[in-house]
């Protein structure tokens, strides 16, 4: 069994998905956080050391790595939320949106207004969101509740509304952070199907997960991030297998 070395990073991104042009390019990205605000001791925590890959139009890219590997930080970089400390992130005129559940929800306001506000925060105009409002409400299966303040909703209902907003808007690149398991079993199936539909269509998706099965079933290319560096990129089956072998060998501390 080949045992991957920790010191053999930076595999050149394997471009399996030849059909598209790059929409996002990450080159030698590094992100460091200050861990404490104590002025007497400065502890720097490096979330990402050196990550490079491209996101190509039309592909669904899975980013796999264990907890703390820097996956969420990578999503924030790609979503344009934060800028890296080193390296270069380029978006080739693509609109990018994080499938951010409950972005900007106000518990006192009704579902409709929250859907509009959230959609606008995700980068769409009032008109664009308004046009999609009916299908958002439909998809979320909220019925009469849509006109009630969302503080009266169950957790599942809020998640359904949030997913519907983010899902029905179609940015060039959709970033997803392991939120596929939302709501009750029935809605989970529905949201998974919706995601699969997107994967078959031309929608470009970046899905972040620590679960190999999710990546295998939903993505057509995968990048493995370990310890803040790109370990491997390629076909999901190969990457996930290598990742899982590695995880078994070097279990999380």
């Amino acid at each position: 069994m080949p045992s991957p070395e920790l010191t053999s990073p930076n595999v050149e991104p394997l471009n399996i998905c030849e059909k598209g042009k790059p929409l996002l390019t990450l080159k030698n990205i590094a992100v460091r956080y200050r861990q404490s605000r104590n002025i007497f001791k400065k502890r720097i925590y490096t979330a990402i050391k050196d990550v490079s890959f491209d996101v190509y139009a039309g592909e669904s890219l899975g980013i796999i790595g264990r907890n703390g590997a820097g996956k969420s930080t990578l999503l924030r970089i790609m979503g344009g939320v934060i800028s890296p400390d080193a390296g270069k992130f380029t978006s080739h005129n693509a609109t990018v949106a994080l499938l951010a559940l409950q972005a900007g929800f106000d518990l006192e306001l009704d579902g409709k207004v929250n859907a509009i506000l959230s959609g606008m925060l995700l980068g769409f105009s009032y008109q664009q969101v308004n046009q999609k409002l009916d299908s958002i409400i439909d998809f979320a299966e909220l019925g009469e509740f849509i006109n009630q303040p969302i503080k009266t909703y169950s957790t599942g209902m809020v998640t359904r509304l949030a997913f519907s907003v983010a899902h029905l808007l179609e940015p060039d690149v959709l970033l997803v952070d392991e939120v596929l398991a939302v709501g009750d079993a029935e809605f989970r199936e529905k949201s998974l199907n919706a995601m699969r539909e997107k994967l078959l269509s031309d929608q470009t998706i970046v899905l972040v997960s620590h679960d190999g099965a999710t990546i295998k079933s939903l993505c057509n290319r995968a990048v493995w991030i370990e310890n803040g560096i790109t370990r491997m990129a390629g076909h999901p089956d190969e990457v996930v297998d290598a990742y899982e072998t590695y995880i078994c060998q070097y279990p999380p501390v």
């Binding site: 979503g79 934060i82 800028s83 951010a100 972005a103 900007g104 106000d106 306001l109 207004v113 925060l121």
Partner: protein, 254 residues
């Protein structure tokens, strides 16, 4: 400063915040007027009944001071955490962070404008209206500029120095006592008056009193100076916020 596509978000958000805030209480919108009335009553009780200083136009001077001071202090204290406290949101989506203090400024200004209308009705009926009231809109615009500048400054700095939120509270109480909310300019001895009036809120409050109660026109030169300085501050601080737009989310999760 803010991209045009965000202005419609801003408009809707301000409207919704007002609605959302009101819906939390039984008396909802009524509180926006009741709160300052209660505060004025307390001051009036202390100063006129307990300290025996209630003679003459004191009640009018007091209400003018309190109402315009509250407009400023509410905005400043609500702006402190406007960026830092929005952590869950700003770590998920990108948007220009100046929107956050601006929302606070607009929401509080709307609420306070109702109070100001009540105040003007009260003074107009009980004390009378004079032609110098015509200068009031200019004073209001200049105070808006002052409020906005202060809001941006505290919002922009707290993410870098979270300890500021305590200092702002203390600073506001100190500033309240230095702004002549409960007393008039003529109580200050001649030699300190110019120093006292360097504080823009002290300056504005005494000008409001002059215009609304003493039938005199404002001192244009000092108003102009305040507007220029605060306008410049708004420009500089929004540039600062813009420069750090993608740094704030990181400060919020650190």
């Amino acid at each position: 400063m803010i991209n045009r596509s965000y202005t419609s978000y801003l408009y809707l958000k301000v409207k919704c915040n007002l609605k959302s805030e009101a819906s939390k209480n039984y008396l909802s919108y009524f509180w926006w007027v009741v709160e300052p009335i209660l505060m004025i009553s307390v001051f009036y009780f202390v100063f006129s009944a307990l300290l025996g200083r209630g003679e003459g136009p004191f009640i009018y001077q007091l209400t003018v001071g309190v109402v315009f001071w509250l407009w400023f202090s509410n905005i400043v204290s609500h702006s402190v955490l406007s960026i830092l406290g929005a952590g869950p949101l700003i770590t998920q989506v990108y948007f220009p962070k100046s929107i956050l203090p601006l929302i606070v400024v607009l929401v509080d200004t709307f609420k306070q404008s109702i109070v100001i209308l009540v105040l003007l009705t009260f003074i107009g009926l009980a004390h009378g209206v004079s032609s110098t009231w015509l200068a009031l809109p200019i004073l209001l615009v200049i105070q808006f500029i002052v409020n906005f500048a202060a809001s941006l400054i505290v919002a922009a700095l707290t993410p870098f120095i979270p300890d500021l939120r305590f200092l702002v509270d203390i600073g506001l109480s100190m500033m309240m006592f230095c702004s002549g909310v409960f007393y008039n300019l003529d109580l200050i001895s001649e030699q300190y008056r110019e120093l006292f009036l360097l504080n823009p809120m002290a300056n504005l409050i005494s000008q409001y009193r002059a215009v609304l109660l003493q039938d005199s026109w404002p001192q244009w030169s000092s108003l102009f100076a305040i507007a220029v300085v605060c306008g410049l501050l708004i420009f500089l601080v929004s540039k600062f916020i813009k420069k750090n737009d993608r740094l704030y989310p990181r400060l919020a999760i650190q």
